[in-house]
Amino acid sequence: MSSEKNSKSISVTLRVWRQAGPNKPGQFVEYPAHNLSPNMSFLEMLDVVNDELTVKGQEPIAFAHDCREGICGTCSLVINGEPHGPHEGVASCQTYIRSFADGEVVTIEPFRAAPFPVIKDLVTDRSAFDKIQQAGGFITARAGSAPDANATSISKVDADLAMDAAQCIGCGACVAACKNASAMLFVAAKVSHLGILPQGQAERDKRVLAMVNTMDDLGFGGCTNQYECSAACPKLISHDFISRLNGDYIAASFRSMFKQAPAQTDGGAG
């Protein structure tokens, strides 16, 4: 990239969704953002705008952020209609001002999904994902310490595949990008990451049934196989995992029909 382009300052107009609180009416408000360094991150630009708003005595724009290095999944903006902005495999925090043209009007919206209600401005409550995780996104076997982990051999292919799925940072961009606000890519990543590994086999059927059930109960939509989710995913998680989730769910549904249930399920030995 030329140094000339990187040194020239950029001015844009922000069109931001402002909403005072949950269930309050919201609206778009325009803010000018002048003399921005092209090498500023998108969130740094919002910090600068917020500083100006604070100095003027106005309410700063609320937006979610934490690590600012693309690994925590906290940032959650829809920039010009695309979750996490224009670049592939990049979170909002790693999007830079040089990606925008001088004078451009940049629309910033919160993730839109019924299970992700807006808390304030651009901040949404994504605890629905935690509820899905709590339904089955864990193993009950003792994983032990590092040497114990090595006692179970795992093929390189399976390990790599599981790690591809485990890259999910739970940001919710898949839900935001899907026209049905479907959480299938998130659930697929969580189900696959444990389901591919030997340690995850004990609860494999129970996990996929419980997580899909919770996903449906929380009001996420269905998958139309348009793959907008994987295109928006900052970790580029493949929609192949959705196919795997579907297969796992179908198989688990059939197996659950023939599974013998214990006489009582509560209490341990003695």
């Binding site: 209609g81 019924a114 479907s182 049934l209 269905g222 139309t224 348009q226 295109a231 579907n246 029909m257």
Partner: protein, 255 residues
């Protein structure tokens, strides 16, 4: 939950219903086209074929009811899923709506579905029930006399000399009205577009697609949809361009 509960009550289950009924309906439309292409051979073929289907009696009804149930479930699942999907977005939608990579055919599944449904209703009214364009309906046309036996897998099923409905003339007279022929071509075009997404999507829904063969699947489905469209275009196209003509016997006896 029992498996039937999983099938009807979960989003994935309803998608499985879409996929499985889709397979049945795709099988039907392909078989239907292959059967109909016999119109390009001598009149004995298509008329004998139609007569053979009618002689199946209860088997024909089992097939018809299966297709109706599949179409019904396909539409039911689509409707329920669409209602849920719209609710899932929440009260406020995006101001800026963009597509990142969704294919054209996937974006218009609902609209192509509506047109195909309207077409199927007209198609049944025209050729199966005779409630529209009844002047050219098979029961109102002079009967056709078979010149030779019609064979299915080497077995003669309709014998020479049998009086049968003149399906061939019904098709040619039906498509002689350009507006009907063009609607037919338009609808099968949209059906092909519907299948372009649907036939790939069902593999994903059933957990069979992945990127190791996803491109091959796309290529196969695209070619199949193109072939399906051209096959369907051939019949009204040949009537409109005059390549498919009434046979002299029925032409002379038709007022």
């Amino acid at each position: 939950m029992n498996p039937l509960g999983h099938l009807f009550c979960s989003t994935i289950g309803r998608k499985v219903i879409m996929a499985v009924t889709g397979i049945v309906l795709i099988g039907f439309v392909i078989g239907h086209l292959v059967g109909n292409l016999q119109v390009f051979e001598e009149p004995d073929r298509i008329n004998g074929y139609a007569q053979f289907l009618h002689t199946l009696g209860p088997v024909l009804w089992v097939m018809r009811i299966t297709l109706l149930v599949c179409a019904g479930l396909h539409i039911w699942a689509a409707t329920v899923l669409t209602i849920e999907d719209r609710k899932a977005r929440g009260a406020v939608d995006y101001r800026t709506k963009t597509w990142i990579q969704a294919t054209l055919s996937s974006r218009y599944m609902r609209w192509t579905g509506y047109v195909v449904l309207a077409f199927v209703i007209y198609h049944l009214a025209q050729f199966t029930l005779g409630s529209v364009q009844s002047a050219s309906y098979k029961e109102n046309l002079p009967e056709y006399t078979m010149n030779a036996d019609y064979h299915v897998m080497g077995i003669p099923v309709v014998h020479a000399g049998t009086h049968v409905h003149d399906v061939r003339s019904m098709v040619i007279l039906g498509f002689s009205q350009p507006i009907v022929a063009f609607f037919y071509i338009f609808a099968v075009g949209l059906l092909s577009l519907h299948l372009l997404h649907g036939a790939q999507s069902l593999f994903q829904t059933l957990g069979l697609r992945n990127s190791s063969w996803g491109k091959a699947l796309r290529a196969i489905v695209t070619l199949a949809c193109l072939a399906y469209f051209l096959g369907n275009l051939a019949i009204p196209g040949a009537v409109l361009t005059g390549h498919l003509k009434l046979n002299p016997a029925s032409a002379s006896s038709t007022p």
